[in-house]
């Protein structure tokens, strides 16, 4: 088995795929993000409660549910795990950090990366899987920006 495939499906990613964090529907949540990829049919929904309304608001309850590949499911799980309990401003920074890291953006990244983020380094060898790794994070970033910069 080739090493880059092992790296793509790191143990961390496999673990998040098998036992995703807060993998449940929470109907009636204040915000619902739809992370859909029309090309491949991946569909995740991210549930947020309560509604954050400024930079200091805390993301208290996050969960997600849906269908997708191991990479998109694990990345959404890591996102939920990483952002719970963070202020929207800090969550936004984490989104930037994750997106820059998986995209191999050389301008990265002031603070050290969590192990959960580093687990996605295998995506660098599979550019066609970048959309899987970033699916939910891009939706989250758009949502957080609408909270922290409501006038933009």
């Amino acid at each position: 088995m080739s090493n880059n495939l092992r790296k793509l499906y790191s143990d961390t990613i496999k673990a998040h795929n098998e036992s995703p964090v807060n993998f449940e529907k929470r109907p009636g949540s204040a915000a619902l993000l739809k992370a859909y990829n029309p090309i491949c049919g991946d569909r995740f929904e991210v549930f947020i409660n309560p509604m954050p309304d400024n930079k200091q608001s805390m993301l208290k309850e996050l969960s997600f549910h849906g269908f997708g590949c191991a990479i998109s499911k694990a990345s959404t799980s890591v996102m939920v795990k990483s952002l719970i309990g963070k202020s929207t401003e800090d969550a936004q920074k984490l989104c930037d950090q994750f997106l820059k890291f998986v995209r191999n953006d050389p301008t990265v990244i002031e603070s050290p990366l969590s192990d959960d983020f580093v687990a996605f380094s295998g995506v660098h060898d599979f550019p066609e899987r970048l959309d899987c790794a970033t699916l939910a994070w891009k939706e989250m970033k758009t949502f957080l920006t609408s909270v922290t910069e409501p006038n933009n």
Binding site: M1, S2, N4, L5, L8, Y9, I39, C40, G41, D42, R43, F67, G68, C69, A70, I71, S72, K73, F126, E128, R129, C132
Partner: protein, 403 residues
């Protein structure tokens, strides 16, 4: 077997650049033989000029070459009338011409259009959108769990308000070969015109207008060993002067004044602007290539591969085929237990096996069959049994990798 896929494979340069490649995404686009690539290169090197315009030999020759291909396409579908053929940029554009340039103006509130439940988005969205716009109904011929059309209610679906029946000859997901002859004649009994999407069949299976008496036939060059960006619309004579162009411009006119334009007749009125001349020439070379093959042997070969693959997969308990149509072309879709199609496809890609994963531009079909996505493999004449053995082996290994 007289047919030798290895010597066919040698005609396709991509495989000398990628000797390890097992290419099983032919339903998305086929590879191109050297003769097609060379024909296009030769056009640009030796013949490049615009058509229908210049009074010099290069332009005259280019025009002749382009119009020659119109004859070849007509004869590919058994038509003696080369003026039946419009060159488009692909099957998608061809369908949209019929939808927006013809059917739309005949569609009234309460009318309906009938399609099958296994259409590619390209043969669904155009009809859905004009139906919405006009307050008409889009009616669907259902697909059963095996992937066959359920035709039991066809005669009630087709009624006096039906303006068109549009359906695919071969499903791009299930591989189903639909009984299109029978369906066309049942529609014609009620004077309903039929559009046949031959994107998956043209060049691989006979699509002769006798017996396939479709009123419109559409297909793309790139799925039949030809170049990207070139396609075909065939229309029966009775509809030709009713189809309005989607684009206006040069090359499609008889006379232009500031206040008025007199257009050329079909097919030229639908080919405004400089067309994809090298693409059309490549399509001509693709037809020459197809005509040089023993047609029965090629169909037998891809059928044999399909049957072989389905048989082998039966012994893999973690693989479930999507449907099992009565008559099937060389397309097979499947799921692997607890492994997402994308993860299967990446695993296969890592073994140099190119397949497609996703919903294959047939989202409603997959939803109706209760699956969000599948892996699809599709065979062509250059595929070999060794290709399939490597694929089967990888499908065994993918289970080990994920367990």
């Amino acid at each position: 077997m007289s047919f030798n896929p290895r010597s066919i494979k040698a005609l396709f340069p991509i495989f000398s650049h990628h000797p390890e490649l097992v290419y099983l995404d032919n339903a998305a686009t086929s590879q191109k033989p050297a003769s097609v690539i060379q024909a296009m290169t030769a056009f640009y090197e030796k013949e490049n000029a615009n058509i229908h315009r210049g009074l010099y030999s290069l332009s005259t020759n280019a025009t002749g070459h382009y119009e020659e291909v119109r004859k070849k396409v007509a004869s590919l579908i058994g038509s003696t009338d080369s003026d039946s053929i419009v060159f488009t940029k692909g099957a998608t554009e061809s369908i949209s011409i019929v939808a927006r340039g013809f059917i739309r103006s005949h569609l009234n509130t309460g009318d309906n259009i009938v399609i099958s439940g296994m259409e590619h988005h390209a043969n669904l969205i155009p009809w859905q959108q004009i139906c919405k716009e006009k307050g008409a109904f889009l009616k669907i011929i259902p697909v059963d769990a095996s992937g066959n059309l359920d035709l039991s209610n066809l005669d009630s679906l087709l009624n006096t308000r039906t303006r068109l029946l549009a359906m695919t000859h071969i499903s791009n997901v299930l591989g189903t070969i639909n009984p299109i002859e029978e369906i066309i004649s049942r529609a014609h009994v009620k004077n309903i015109p039929v559009l046949m999407d031959a994107a998956q069949s043209a060049g691989h299976y006979p699509i002769d207008i006798n017996p396939f008496d479709a009123d419109f036939i559409v297909f793309s060059a790139h799925k039949m060993f030809g170049p990207l960006g070139t396609g075909v619309l065939y229309s029966k004579k009775s509809y030709r002067n009713q189809i309005e162009p989607l684009h206006y411009g040069g090359g499609a006119i008889k006379n232009v004044e500031y206040a008025n334009t007199e257009f050329l007749d079909y097919p030229h009125n639908l080919e405004a602007g400089t067309p994809n001349i090298s693409g059309v020439i490549g399509l001509g070379a693709a037809i020459d290539f197809i005509e040089s093959l023993d047609k029965k042997a090629t169909v037998d070969h891809t059928n044999e591969l399909t049957i072989y693959f389905k048989e082998k997969v039966k012994s893999l308990t973690h693989i479930t085929l999507l449907g099992n149509p009565q008559k099937s072309g060389s397309i097979v879709s499947f799921q692997a237990k607890d492994i997402h199609p994308h993860d299967v496809a990446s695993f296969l890609a890592n073994a140099d096996i190119a397949v497609r994963a996703g919903h294959h531009c047939a989202q409603p079909l997959l939803e109706s069959m209760g699956v969000p996505a599948v892996v699809r493999i599709s065979f062509a004449i250059y595929n070999t049994k060794e290709d399939l053995e490597r694929t089967i082996e990888a499908l065994v290994d993918v289970k080990k990798f994920w367990s």
